[in-house]
C-alpha cells in the first residue's frame, strides 16, 4: 500500500531533488566536495604511481646498471635498455641508452619492483598530456632530470 502511494506521488524523486537542492545552496569551505582542478589539486597518497624517473646515488652517479630487468618485466613493452661497459671502466655496466615510452606506460609499477638497485622510481607527477607525443617518449637524461627534482640526492 505504502509502496503504491510512494510510486504514484514520485516521493523518491522528490527526496533526490531535495538533496540536490541542499548541495546547491551549500557554502564553499564547509563540506566541500568539488575540487576546482587545475587551480586546486588533490593531495596524493604515498605510493601513488605517477610518472617514472631514474635516480642517482648519493655521489651523483647513475644508479641504473643496465640490467634490463625493467624492460623484461614491463607488461606494455615501453622500456628500451641498451647496456654497455663504461668507456673508462669496461667492467662497469651501465645503460648506454635508456628510454621509456610514457605514451604506452600503464603505470603498473612493475619495473620499479623489478629494478634490483632502486634506480627506477615513481613520482607523483600525472599531468602528462602533450601536443607532441615525442615529448613524453623520455630518454635517460630527461628521466634523470625528473629524478633529480623529485628524489634529490645528497650533494657533499
Amino acid at each position: 500500500m505504502i509502496k503504491f502511494f510512494k510510486t504514484i506521488l514520485f516521493i523518491d524523486i522528490i527526496m533526490g531533488l531535495l538533496l540536490t537542492l541542499k548541495h546547491f545552496f551549500m557554502f564553499k569551505g564547509k563540506r566541500e566536495i568539488t575540487i576546482e582542478y587545475p587551480d586546486e589539486k588533490k593531495p596524493l597518497p604515498d605510493g601513488y604511481r605517477g610518472l617514472l624517473c631514474l635516480r642517482r646515488k648519493d655521489d651523483g652517479s647513475e644508479r641504473c646498471v643496465g640490467c634490463t630487468l625493467c624492460e623484461a618485466y614491463c607488461p606494455s613493452k615501453c622500456i628500451t635498455v641498451v647496456s654497455a661497459g663504461a668507456e673508462n671502466d669496461p667492467m662497469k655496466r651501465y645503460a648506454k641508452f635508456y628510454q621509456i615510452d610514457i605514451t604506452k606506460c600503464v603505470f603498473c609499477g612493475y619495473c620499479v619492483d623489478a629494478c634490483p638497485v632502486e634506480a627506477l622510481a615513481m613520482t607523483k607527477r600525472y599531468e602528462l598530456s602533450q601536443y607532441e607525443k615525442e615529448t613524453i617518449v623520455m630518454a635517460k637524461d630527461k628521466l634523470l632530470e625528473i629524478g633529480d627534482v623529485d628524489y634529490p640526492w645528497r650533494k657533499d
Binding site: V65, C67, T68, A72, V82, S83, P116
Partner: protein, 871 residues
C-alpha cells in the same frame, strides 16, 4: 638394453648409459650443474643426487650408469633438502651480482636456485678475494662467480685437445686459469670454455654487457670463413650481430667452433662497409643510386660486346658467396654476356684437387665425411697444417688420434696436429712429390697393395711399378729427409687400414704440380683399396667456405653446373635445355689467362666479385699491371679494397649474415644460411645484383628469392645425373704409361745462392682470408703478422725475439717482425698471408700450373738480414 624404474616408471635404456641421460630420455629431469653431455662424467657439484634402492646414501646420477632392475627415485623431500643444501654451499662465496653479471638470464645457477634453492644462505663467511682478471684480449675471468664445475677445463682438454686451462689451489680457494699462469690465455681461443661455463665466470669481452639473451634474435646459419662449414647461430639486435652461439647437437662441428667462427663476426657491422654504389667521376669514387650504377654497367658491357665481342668481358667470383650467387653469376656471364670467361677463387689451388678427383671418380658427386675422419683407423695427413687452416676438421683428426687411430703427419714444418701423431714426418719444402711417390713406391714394391685390386687393375699397378722403379729410396731420402724405413712404415700402416683416410692441404694443392700430386694421392687410394669402401675417404682441405660450391655451380671455364664438362657439346646441351638458351661453345679463360688476355688487349672489361687481386697479387707482377690496363672494371665487395680503388663502378654486396642461400662445405654437404639482419646500408645480396643487371642486359633472370634459385639448381644437378656412364675408375686405370709418366714427373726447385731462404705465405689459425681483418676478435688476438724463423737461423743472423728482419729479393724488400720458433725447419720462413702490410706478398712471383692453370703466388726465395733501426 636394460630395464630400470625411475619414479615408478619403467624405462628402457642402453646398457651403460648415464642415469641422467636415461632419465632425460624418459622425460624426467634431474637437475645438474657440472654434468655436460659432451664431457666425461665428473661428479663435482652433487646437485644430481638421487635415491637408488639398495645403495647407501644418495647417489650422483651423472656418474652412475644404469643397470637392470635399478630402482631410482629422483624426487622426494629428502632429495629436495639435499639439493637445497648443495645449492646453499655453492652460493657460500657467490657474489650474486646478477644484475651486472653477463650471464644473467641464461645462467644455470640462477635457474637452479630459482627452481630448487631456498633463497637465503646461512653461511655468513666473509667473501673471499677471488681473481678478477680482465687483461686477456677476449676472455674475462671473474672467478668469484665460478662454481668449480671444471666444465671449462674439461672441454679444453677433452673436446678441444688444447689443455690450456687448469684448476689451481684447493677447496674453496680453487681457481681456474691458464696452465702456464698469468692472465693471458694465449691459446687457440676457440671460446669453448666461455660457451660451456654455466655461470658468468668466463665471459667474452666482445659481447660483454651488450645485451641480455632475451633481447636478441637467434638465426641458425653457417660460418663464412673456411670449408669446414660449421653451423652456429647469430644473435642479433636491431641489425647488430652481437655474438655467435652454438648447440652441441648441431652441425658437423657439434657445437665446437674455432676462433674465427666464434669471435670473427663483427666484420658484418664494421663501419668501413660499403653502403652505396660508387661510380668513378674523374678520379674519385662518388656515391650514386643502384639504378644509375647498373645502367652504366649494362651500357658499358653492351658497348664492349658490340665492339669487341662478348669474350672481351670476364668475371671472377670469390668462394665466400653462396651457391645461389655463384650459380646466377655464371648464368649471367654465360647467357646475358655470352662468354665462358668465368673463374673463382678455387683457381688458387682447390681446383687442382677437384679436377683430379673428378678425373678419377667421373660424374659421381664427390663426397667425403668428416665423420669418416673422426672414425678412421689410419689417417694420412699431408701438408695440411689442419688445426690452423680448418680447425674443426683438425678437431676430428685429434679425436680419431685420441681414440687410438694411427695418425701419420707429413708437413714441411712441425705442426700442431703432430703432437697427436704416431709418425711425424717433417719433409723438406718442395719435396712433397718425392714423398708421395715414395709412398706409392713402397706400397707397390713391398706388396702392400690390395690383393683384390691387383687382380682387377693388374696393368695399372704394373705400369706404376715401372714408373716408380726409377726412383730410389736413397734419392727420396736425399730430397725429403725421410728415411726408407719411415716411408715404408707409413705406407704399410696406410695400406693395412680398414678405414684409411687421406687428407691433403694447401701444401699440395696450392703448389706447383698440385693437380698431379692430387692424382698421385688418388693412385695411392686406388691401389690400397681405400677409395670406394665404406669409412675410407680422401679429403682435400678447402680454405674458403664455398670453393666446392664455386666449382659445382660452374664458376669455372671448364665446368658447367654440376661439374659437367663445358668443352663437351653433349654436356652443354643438357644445361642449355634447362636454361632454354644456348651456352656459348667458345672455350673460356681461366684466371691467369684472363689477366694475360688483359695484357694482350683481348679482355676489355672485368667483373670482380669479392676478390681483391690488387691486394693479393705481388705488386711487381704482370697481373697487377693488368688491372690498370682495363677499360672497365666493376668491383662488388663488402669493403673498399685496393681493387675497388681502380674500379669504374663499385657495388656494395651483403655479407652472409644478410642473405639467404646455401654453402657447400669441403665434404660436399650443402647447408642453408639464413639472413639474420637486413642488408647493411644500401647493400644487396649478390644474386639480386646479378638479377638486376641481367634485366638491363636484356636477358632477365628474375627470381623471387634465393629459394627459387636453389630449386633451379636442384633441377640442373638432377639433369646432370641423368648423363650416366660406366665406372669412372675403370676408365682411369686405363691411363697409358706415357700419361702416367707425365703425372709422375718431378721438378726440383733450387734456391738461388743469393737468396737462400724459402719464404712461404699461408693461412694461420686466427685469420681467414682478408675478412677476419675487419673483425675485432681476430684482430685483438693477432693484430699483425710475424715472420716465423728457426732459432738456429735466427742465431746465425743475429736476430732475437722482437727484432725486425729485412727480407730481400729481386722483387724488393720488406721489414717484418720475427717470431723465433723451432717449429720451422732451418732454411724455411713462414708469414701469414692475411695482412696487407707489410706487403710481404710483393716478394713472391706468380707461378702458373701447366695442367689446371691454377696460379700460385705464395712462395719466394729471399735473403734475410737483421734490420737495424735508424736512430
Amino acid at each position: 638394453m636394460v630395464k630400470l624404474t625411475i619414479n615408478n616408471k619403467i624405462v628402457e635404456a642402453p646398457d651403460g648409459m648415464l642415469l641422467t641421460e636415461a632419465a632425460k630420455m624418459a622425460g624426467i629431469e634431474i637437475p645438474t650443474l657440472c654434468y655436460h653431455p659432451e664431457l666425461q662424467p665428473y661428479g663435482g657439484c652433487r646437485l644430481c643426487l638421487v635415491r637408488i634402492e639398495k645403495m647407501p646414501k644418495l647417489q650422483t646420477a651423472c656418474t652412475t650408469r644404469v643397470c637392470d632392475n635399478m630402482v631410482v627415485t629422483t624426487e622426494s623431500p629428502e632429495i629436495a633438502k639435499a639439493r637445497k643444501g648443495m645449492l646453499e654451499f655453492v652460493l657460500t662465496y657467490h657474489p650474486l651480482d646478477c644484475p651486472i653479471c653477463d650471464k644473467g638470464g641464461e645462467c644455470e645457477l640462477q635457474n637452479l636456485v630459482f627452481k630448487f634453492g631456498s633463497g637465503f644462505r646461512r653461511y655468513a663467511e666473509d667473501i673471499e678475494e677471488y681473481t678478477i682478471d680482465t687483461n686477456d684480449p677476449l676472455i674475462d675471468r671473474e672467478l668469484d662467480r665460478c662454481v668449480r664445475c671444471l666444465r671449462c677445463v674439461r672441454v679444453c682438454d677433452e673436446v678441444q685437445g688444447v689443455t690450456n686451462l687448469t684448476a689451481y689451489n684447493r677447496g674453496s680457494h680453487t681457481e681456474i686459469g691458464p696452465f702456464m699462469g698469468g692472465s693471458i690465455f694465449d691459446c687457440e681461443y676457440c671460446g669453448s670454455c666461455v660457451a660451456i661455463c654455466p655461470v658468468g665466470a668466463l665471459t667474452s669481452k666482445l659481447f660483454k654487457y651488450k645485451a641480455r639473451p632475451w633481447q636478441t634474435k637467434r638465426t641458425d646459419t653457417i660460418c663464412t670463413y673456411c670449408g669446414c662449414g660449421c653451423q652456429f647461430a647469430l644473435e642479433t639486435r636491431d641489425g647488430d650481430v652481437l655474438r655467435v652461439v652454438t648447440d652441441y647437437e648441431k652441425g658437423v662441428n657439434e657445437g665446437s667452433l674455432c676462433t674465427r667462427g666464434r669471435f670473427g663476426y663483427s666484420f658484418v657491422n664494421n663501419k668501413k662497409r660499403l653502403t652505396a654504389p660508387l661510380i668513378k667521376t674523374n678520379t674519385k669514387l662518388e656515391p650514386t643510386s643502384w639504378d644509375e650504377a647498373t645502367d652504366i654497367i649494362a651500357d658499358r658491357f653492351k658497348k664492349i660486346i658490340e665492339n669487341n665481342g662478348p669474350d672481351a668481358i670476364a668475371g671472377i667470383i670469390t668462394g665466400h658467396c653462396t651457391n645461389e650467387d655463384i650459380y646466377l653469376f655464371q648464368k649471367f656471364m654465360r647467357l646475358a654476356i655470352g662468354t665462358n670467361n668465368i673463374d673463382s677463387a678455387a683457381r688458387f689451388g682447390y681446383v687442382n684437387a677437384m679436377s683430379a678427383i673428378k678425373q678419377v671418380i667421373g660424374s659421381k658427386r664427390f663426397e667425403a665425411s668428416l665423420d669418416d675422419v673422426a672414425n678412421a683407423d689410419v689417417i694420412l695427413s699431408i701438408s695440411t697444417n689442419i688445426t690452423e687452416v680448418n680447425p674443426i676438421a683438425g678437431l676430428k683428426v685429434r679425436r680419431a688420434a685420441k681414440r687410438g687411430a694411427v695418425l701419420i703427419v707429413a708437413d714441411v714444418q712441425d705442426t700442431d696436429i703432430a703432437k697427436f701423431a704416431s709418425q711425424n714426418l717433417i719433409i723438406k719444402s718442395g719435396s712433397e712429390r718425392w714423398f708421395i711417390h715414395g709412398l706409392v713406391k713402397a706400397v707397390i714394391e713391398k706388396g702392400f697393395y690390395d690383393k683384390k685390386i691387383y687382380k682387377d687393375y693388374k696393368k695399372f699397378i704394373d705400369n706404376l711399378e715401372n714408373i716408380v722403379k726409377g726412383l730410389s729410396f736413397k734419392e727420396i731420402e736425399e730430397k725429403t729427409g725421410i728415411s726408407e724405413k719411415d716411408i715404408i712404415e707409413a705406407a704399410k700402416a696406410y695400406s693395412k687400414a680398414k678405414k684409411g683416410v687421406i687428407i691433403f692441404g694447401q701444401g699440395i694443392t696450392h703448389q706447383q704440380d698440385g693437380y698431379k700430386s692430387s692424382l698421385n694421392l688418388l693412385d695411392l687410394c686406388i691401389i690400397t683399396g681405400n677409395i670406394d669402401s665404406k669409412g675410407t675417404a680422401i679429403l682435400p682441405l678447402c680454405d674458403e667456405n664455398n670453393e666446392y660450391g664455386a666449382l659445382e655451380m660452374g664458376a669455372a671455364p671448364e665446368f658447367l653446373s654440376g661439374f659437367l664438362n663445358a668443352g663437351a657439346a653433349k654436356d652443354r646441351e643438357i644445361i642449355s635445355k634447362i636454361w632454354d638458351k644456348k651456352i656459348p661453345a667458345k672455350k673460356g679463360l681461366t684466371m691467369p689467362e684472363i689477366f694475360n688476355g688483359i695484357l694482350k688487349g683481348k679482355i676489355k672489361a672485368l667483373y670482380i666479385i669479392g676478390e681483391n687481386p690488387a691486394g693479393t697479387f705481388p705488386q711487381k707482377s704482370e697481373f697487377y699491371e693488368a688491372l690498370q690496363k682495363l677499360d672497365f672494371l666493376v668491383c662488388q665487395d663488402l669493403f673498399p679494397t685496393a681493387t675497388c680503388e681502380l674500379a669504374d663502378v663499385v657495388l656494395p654486396a651483403s655479407s652472409f649474415a644478410e642473405k639467404d642461400g646455401t654453402f657447400t662445405n669441403m665434404e660436399g654437404r650443402a647447408q642453408k644460411i639464413e639472413a639474420a639482419i637486413n642488408p647493411v646500408g644500401d647493400s644487396r645480396p649478390d644474386w639480386q645484383i646479378f638479377s638486376a643487371l641481367s634485366e638491363k642486359m636484356g636477358y632477365p633472370m628474375d627470381y623471387d628469392n634465393a629459394d627459387a634459385i636453389l630449386k633451379e639448381i636442384a633441377q640442373v644437378i638432377e639433369g646432370c645425373n641423368s648423363k650416366g656412364e660406366g665406372s669412372a675408375i675403370e676408365n682411369y686405370v686405363k691411363t697409358s704409361v706415357k700419361e702416367l709418366r707425365a703425372i709422375y714427373e718431378r721438378k726440383e726447385e733450387k734456391a738461388p745462392a743469393k737468396f737462400p731462404f724459402k719464404l712461404m705465405l699461408g693461412p694461420v689459425l686466427f685469420h681467414s682470408g682478408k675478412l677476419s681483418g675487419y673483425s675485432e676478435g681476430p684482430v685483438r688476438i693477432l693484430p699483425e703478422g710475424r715472420l716465423k724463423i728457426n732459432p738456429n737461423d735466427a742465431d746465425r743472423l743475429g736476430i732475437i725475439e722482437g727484432d725486425k728482419a729485412l727480407l730481400k729479393n729481386a722483387n724488393g724488400e720488406v721489414k717484418v717482425k720475427v717470431e723465433i720458433t723451432d717449429r720451422m725447419p732451418e732454411g724455411l720462413l713462414f708469414y701469414p698471408e692475411h695482412f696487407m702490410y707489410p706487403a710481404v706478398r710483393n716478394l713472391c712471383k706468380i707461378d702458373i700450373d701447366k695442367d689446371t692453370k691454377a696460379n700460385y703466388f705464395k712462395s719466394a726465395f729471399v735473403a734475410v738480414e737483421r734490420h737495424v733501426p735508424e736512430h
